[in-house]
Amino acid sequence: MVKHALNDDSVIVVIGSGAGGGTLANELCQKGFKVVLLEAGQHQSSTTFHNEEWFAFDQLAWLDKRTTSGNWRVAKDFPNLPAWICKTVGGTTTHWAGASLRLQEHEFQARTHYSGIDGANLLDWPLTLAELEPYYAKAETKMGVTRTNDIPGLPGNNNFKVMYNGATRVGYKTVHTGRMAINSRPRDGRSSCWQLGFCFQGCKSGAKWSTLYTEIPKAEATGKLDLRPESMVMQIQHDANGKATGVLYADKDGQHQLQRARIVCVAGNSIETPRLLLNSSSTTFPNGLANSSGQVGKNYMRHTTGSVFGVFKKPVHFYRGTVMAGIVQDEAVLDTSRGFTGGFELETISLGLPFTAAFLNPGAWGADYTDVLEQYPNMAAMWIVGEDMPQEKNAVTLHPTEKDKFGLPIPNVHYDDHANDLAMRSYAFKKGAAIYDAVGATRTIEVPPYPSTHNLGTCRQSEKAGDGVCNKWGQTHDVKNLFISDGSQFTTSAAENPTLTIVSLAIRQADYIGEQCGKQNL
């Protein structure tokens, strides 16, 4: 495996190996660039993954301490775990469920379409659907998304059968097994889906797309990638001209290393990315790197989520097979007559017994709770994924006193639900319950949001430098050779699972970097 020298200032440093960073690193290597890919977590594989929820959680999740504030229920239920995302090679693509949906045209112009919402810091993306469409197509091909490229949909499991029958009985029309980056046929050297039921725990069959075993080995095959796991980046450094020069990181032995760089791309997910920029403050950039707008860490979004569980007289065994086995898309539309703006998707979800007990009603105990848990085999469930409003006060900030083992301030994640978010969740809970009632549910349960898996918006794209952190290429307004390469770029959250858009933006960003380097602009 290739090793690039620490003092080689011709390399591109990519921080984070998930959907954004892992894809970007591969795309850059394919163009012939030398890439150093720094990943905070360890290197696992399909062989080391486990079909066991707590084991996998300990193995993959980002468990470094974080704090929370705000009126969201996650702050009460999981005060030190605002997000359920991963610290491992492949990042959260090891954990994601595979739903791969394009954002809709109107969602790129949220300010234009959703105007007049108090407290929402809405902005149009500096990007249109038409500009991103060619990259969506490339991403779908790369990831092998079902129902694109003549790839058949996945077969629906029992959980989907319940959703499908209920949803169609209440009149929903667009109900199917989704567009999933999970092989329904063998493809790209990976098997088809075994319906293991452990998508969240790392896919042991390799059918689910993850940068861990697609982008990263492809990048390594070019001889251009130097992947360094267990490398925690502490600071991005710059010169007197305000140009990024390299990154300081702690290696697996805790030794500090300085890697020089031509370009630095940050893809640490929407909590660590702004944290790193804020922790990289200097006399030139006293408020943090690339933060002349003051928007670094602001406008944190996490989707308006929640789950509806249905309990039935007969068995469902919803844990068998893909976790997101199907979708209802009819509510993912612009229709303010529902009492809120923005839309939401309904997607099946399943949890094993350990996590059902942990998440069905966090903190609950006693016979009322165990009576419900004893209905476990007869449960079906769906997850709400809805557009939440960007609010400036919802922010990732540096903790004033608590520090991590490297001596760096830990992040605090503040989130207050917006009135629009609450109205949407309330409506979606009722719609989800109606679906299950239509097929004879004896009981439906409104389950509060889990720790966030869709973390977005904390270094958002903006047309004007004063409104956000980066331009439509993810290039920061303030530091020309510093890029944001993950979901932090999202100007608004839209109703769709974000990974396909993150991958599309990464492919597009790689093209831009290649072009700008060719013109000697970078």
Partner: protein, 180 residues
């Protein structure tokens, strides 16, 4: 941070309570059972914690064995950290003094009332947190609750019932194609 800390309990990781549960003496009738030996917990404390854990997540269909496994994990935590040992001993003492008789002698309703009164304490949160992760990760509990768990060894659920539900019609193939 270990996973337990986000559940506000603060203990070492637990993987597979079946090991802890092995070697326990249980009887099918639920009659008198031997109290397993513990390193730090006293027998009376262990008996009380068993009854506490049976009230926190009560499942009549379960024998005491998986609940003893919870007490075993509490014992391990107490051995590793003296402050946990103190918290557990104090918590048991408080439960024994609150209702005029020992906790284990109370009827179910009074046991629940006694626990309700202390449900926000670190002691209760500790027991609940350890129990949540131990009880519902126990293969014997999986079986009793109808959860089949890991499927990799049998090649997944693809040929083991992932779409075997018959009490509703199958969706059309346009919505749900047949398996490859």
């Amino acid at each position: 941070m270990k996973r337990r800390e986000f559940l506000k309990t603060g203990a070492m990781a637990v993987v597979g309570s079946a090991v802890a549960a092995s070697g326990l003496v249980t009887t099918a009738s639920g009659a008198e059972e031997a109290v397993p030996k513990f390193s730090t917990l006293k027998p009376a404390e262990a008996q009380t914690l068993l009854q506490v854990s049976r009230q926190i997540f009560p499942h009549r269909k379960l024998t005491d064995a998986p609940y003893w496994a919870v007490v075993s994990q509490l014992d391990i935590a107490a051995q590793a950290d003296p402050s946990v040992a103190t918290m557990l001993a104090d918590g048991v003492a408080q439960l024994n003094s609150s209702q005029g008789s020992k906790f284990v002698d109370l009827n179910d309703q009074h046991k629940v009332e006694a626990l309700k009164a202390i449900e926000t304490t670190p002691f209760f949160q500790k027991v609940r947190g350890v129990e949540l992760q131990t009880l519902y990760s126990d293969p014997a509990v999986f079986k009793a609750m109808g959860y089949q768990g890991a499927s990799y060894a049998m090649g997944g659920y693809l040929h083991h019932g992932f779409n075997d539900l018959k009490w509703l019609p199958d969706p059309p193939q346009s919505a749900s194609p047949k398996p490859a």
